[in-house]
Symmetry: C2
Subunit: 259 residues, 2 copies
């Protein structure tokens, strides 16, 4: 359970699985995906895919199995409370082909808090066989890890608290550095050719263009250059600025990060 | 292309596919999923799954094919601009096994705006064979529909504008009604048993519990009852309130919608 560094150049990958009808119905704006993406980035772990599924056992089982076999890690959020729609622990157990008995440490926590817990609260003690607990420093019972899957709460403040106990368990990669070239007053159609030339010259970098516009007359694009070699990122930034200037683009700013 | 009503009781389903490295890197907080979920709900279309994939052709192809065969509709966002990372149109064409030639109407729009468009802008005219255009009332070129897949922009204001041309093409279902019973000062562990009893008595309704807490001392849960029969939703609300009161729960409010 100690952090190990991936071999140089080896990519460490992850997926997020958001479990909950409330995201798909539009009741709730998800903010957990963005928080997990930023958190994993600090460990050099690439978030490669995310899925949102409803509180339906077979959908959760299928998604967990699809993602855990494809990526190094999976982080799930939601569905670990005491109510009938909280079926994540049992579904993840099913995905792994194991049962989810009451975990003695969680049962002890529940007893300390509630006396003998009722049947609903005992559901929160379900942890798949072979799982280890993920600390909850905020409120309520812990999450858990089984294999390469981390099962966290859905309430954002609690989810973020639990993440602190996830990072130290990850095999980490080289952290991705981002820099942005922000162009105001020129559209993507003019930027595209110089941008593509720089992208082709640096196949190890990820270069994206994110247009912005504020009617009636503010528009442009943030050109984000991402890579694991800070020196190459810096070189690409300067090449891009020169390439843009060579086709007459004005209003160029260099910005730190993925601004 | 006119709206048709699904047969009574028949469910109309949809998935959302968000395409873009910027969501997975954490640079950008997605807001399109929530907007599409709310929009589809007004047409009685159930959003059943969402996925976020990077700007990688094979990932887009695989996700489009997985989702378009499983659900009645798929709505994609992102990747339809003129830069090298805008590969959605070509990827969706590949998923359907067709080419994506330049669409004459979009070429005409581009010529009107730019004179003879450069190679980058011509990318925005790519539409899979057999596709029809989705109007863009905001800025820039249109989206398109091919089969049961709608391909929209990623910039939220533009995406929302394009949605107006999606709804009229959908086979619609009965709209889902939501009501909420909000309980303050009681935890989910106490609420769970009466809630589950009501949920079991109404298998056609979707009943979810969404805890809230504001440290140090405000906590509780929003119990959201959703269904297509408003009378049954109302009955379930009253049954739930009675069941909660019967176990001594205080601080119960009835709230309209999924509050």
């Amino acid at each position: 359970m100690t952090t190990t560094q991936a071999k140089s150049g080896e990519r460490v990958t992850a997926a997020v699985l958001i479990i909950g009808d409330e995201i798909l119905s539009g009741r709730t704006q998800d903010v957990n995906l963005n928080a997990i993406a930023k958190y994993l980035a600090t460990y050099g772990v690439d978030l490669c895919e995310a899925r949102v599924v409803p509180d339906v056992e077979q959908e959760i089982v299928d998604a967990v199995n699809a993602l855990r076999t494809k990526y190094d890690y999976v982080v799930t959020t939601g569905g670990i409370g005491p109510t009938h729609d909280d079926i994540t622990a049992d579904s993840v157990a099913k995905a792994f082909g194991v049962t989810a008995p009451e975990h003695p440490e969680i049962m002890a926590m529940l007893r300390e808090r509630w006396g003998e817990p009722n049947a609903a609260r005992r559901r929160m003690a379900h942890v798949p066989e072979g799982g280890t607990l993920v600390k909850n420093p905020v409120q309520g019972p812990p999450g858990f890890q089984i294999g390469n899957v981390f099962v966290l709460a859905g309430v954002p403040a609690i989810m973020r608290g639990m993440l602190d106990d996830v990072g130290p368990r990850l095999r980490t990669g080289a952290v991705v550095i981002s820099r942005t070239v922000r162009v105001t007053g020129t559209g993507e159609g003019t930027i595209a050719a110089p941008l593509e030339a720089v992208a082709k010259a640096h196949p190890d970098l990820s270069i994206g263009s994110y247009p912005f516009f504020a009617p009636p007359d503010v528009y442009g694009a943030s050109l984000v250059i991402r890579g694991r070699d800070p020196a190459e990122v810096d070189v690409a930034v300067e090449e891009l600025v020169a390439a843009l200037e060579s086709v007459g683009v004005k209003g160029i700013e260099r910005v730190a990060g993925a601004a």
